[in-house]
């Protein structure tokens, strides 16, 4: 099974905005950080 997240977030510019903290292929646990704003 699969979960797809799609969401709006501030565009990444000059060090501000949304940034992923994981990359493709990484194994994650529930509750682990995926992205920061």
């Amino acid at each position: 099974s699969t979960i797809v997240l799609v969401f709006e977030a501030p565009e990444r510019k000059d060090g501000k905005g949304f940034k992923w903290t994981v990359e493709q292929g990484k194994t994650v646990k529930m509750g682990e950080a995926l992205g920061l704003v």
Binding site: S1, T2, I3, V4, L5, V6, F7, E8, A9, P10, E11, R12, K13, K16, G17, F18, W20, T21, V22, E23, Q24, G25, K26, T27, V28, K29, M30, G31, E32, A33, L34, G35, L36, V37
Partner: protein, 411 residues
């Protein structure tokens, strides 16, 4: 009786089993072919307004898979796993399953393996909250255990950039059809709708270029989809929604018109500045903990259940069948968070055909009966339900980060 039994001669004759299997195979093949021919006739190719049904196309493996009764197999698999196991077998059986699929039993909330009556219960086990601390400092956390298959940004026009050459458009994932019409777009400044001098609606990018709504932004298996029926279907569908007052009217062409805009004013963007659409795909392996939790603080306002197929969603098949996510059974949850639009879509698979939502008792996935209660929007192929009643103030169901939302069940 003994004499009759002894005196009756036994004569062995071969039963043409092979002939029977060939006949059944031929019968199934001809049924599938006649159904495909009928669909092809229905979709008149030169009709510009035709709705494009999303169908599996791809290499021969996919053709064979698409002729199998996957949903029936999935329901059978579920029934089989609901058979209560003899108590003495349970510890050994579940430890074997754990060994094969890499389950960490020590993390389960209930450590007494004899108390799980069958594999379906063990599969849907709870986990000890202490072993899954919820990250407080990030904006979005992982809704489940699993592997991050894709992360990225949605390009203009709703196209999802990702790995393995798979590209599909979000409109097909979340609204089910590709239509050749200008349609709504999320309330993101990425693409704006406005009336031009001759009164027709047109979409423009931040740079002011007119986005041709008939431009095909994502080509997939020969079927192409136009920009942004993102989560909402065609524009007139939005107008219909706004007119019938079932939702407070949103700005025209604004996804809010579908997901209940005004009443979530406290969700209105806290941050100014341009925004983008981001996406992530997390794959849950058979041994993973299969309940999913809320990835952030948000309000779910609309649920759409697409009763599609149940192909396996293994990474191998995802690479083979690019349109997998928009073919499979899925439950699209649409709502808002502090930065604007937010959606989460659990997608079912052959072995885990059932998707459960703790706050939506009406939802029935992988069932024989069609969705009758929720208002199935004709022609859109999904059953839609709204959660306004869950909270008048928020016009939706509020969720805290890490809160359990539901899960995937076997079969």
């Amino acid at each position: 009786l003994k004499m009759a039994w002894d005196d009756t001669p036994i004569k062995w004759t071969p039963i043409p089993v092979g002939l029977g299997i060939t006949y059944l195979g031929f019968k199934h093949y001809s049924t599938v072919m006649s159904r495909e021919r009928q669909i092809a006739e229905e979709e008149d190719p030169n009709d510009p307004q035709r709705k494009r049904r999303i169908r599996p196309t791809g290499p021969w493996q996919v053709q064979i898979l698409s002729t199998l009764p996957l949903k029936a197999l999935s329901r059978l698999w579920g029934k089989f796993n609901e058979i209560p196991l003899p108590v003495i077998f349970r510890p050994f059986g579940f430890k074997l399953y754990a060994f094969i699929f890499g389950v960490n039993i020590s993390e389960a909330k209930n450590q007494d393996l004899k108390s799980y009556r069958n594999l379906a219960e063990f599969f849907y086990r709870e986990i000890d909250p202490a072993v899954r601390p919820i990250d407080k400092s990030s904006a979005v956390v992982s809704p489940s255990d699993g592997k991050v298959l894709m992360v990225g940004e949605v390009r203009e026009g709703g196209k999802v950039e990702n790995v393995k050459g798979m590209t599909y458009s979000l409109d097909a994932l979340l609204s089910g059809h590709g239509e050749t019409k200008t349609s709504s777009h999320p309330s993101s400044p990425a693409i704006k709708f406005g009336e031009n001098e001759n009164g027709t609606t047109e979409a423009t990018t931040p740079g002011g270029q007119i986005v041709d709504s008939h431009e095909e932004f994502a080509r997939m298996n020969g079927i192409s989809y136009t920009v942004g029926e993102l989560f909402s279907g065609t524009e007139d569908h939005i107008d219909a929604k706004a007119e019938d007052q079932s939702l407070p009217p949103g700005e025209k062409g604004d996804v809010a018109a579908v997901v209940g805009p005004k009443s979530t004013s406290w969700f209105r963007n806290q941050l100014e500045g341009p925004k983008r659409l981001y996406f992530a795909v997390i794959y849950l392996a058979p041994g993973d903990y299969h309940r999913f939790h809320s990835p952030t603080e948000w309000v779910v306002e609309t649920r759409r259940h697409f009763a599609g197929e149940l192909f396996s969603v293994s990474p191998y098949l995802q690479a083979l069948l690019p349109s997998l996510f928009i073919l499979n059974e899925r439950v699209v949850l649409l709502g808002r968070w502090k930065h604007g639009f937010f959606s989460m879509t659990p997608v079912g698979a052959t072995n885990v055909g059932s998707i459960v939502l703790n706050f939506d008792r009406e939802l029935r996935t992988n069932s024989l009966t069609k969705d009758t209660k929720a208002d199935t929007l004709e022609g859109h192929g999904y059953a839609e339900a709204h959660y306004q009643l869950a909270s008048q103030l928020l016009s939706g169901h509020p969720l805290r980060r890490g809160e359990e939302m539901g899960g995937f069940r076997l079969g």
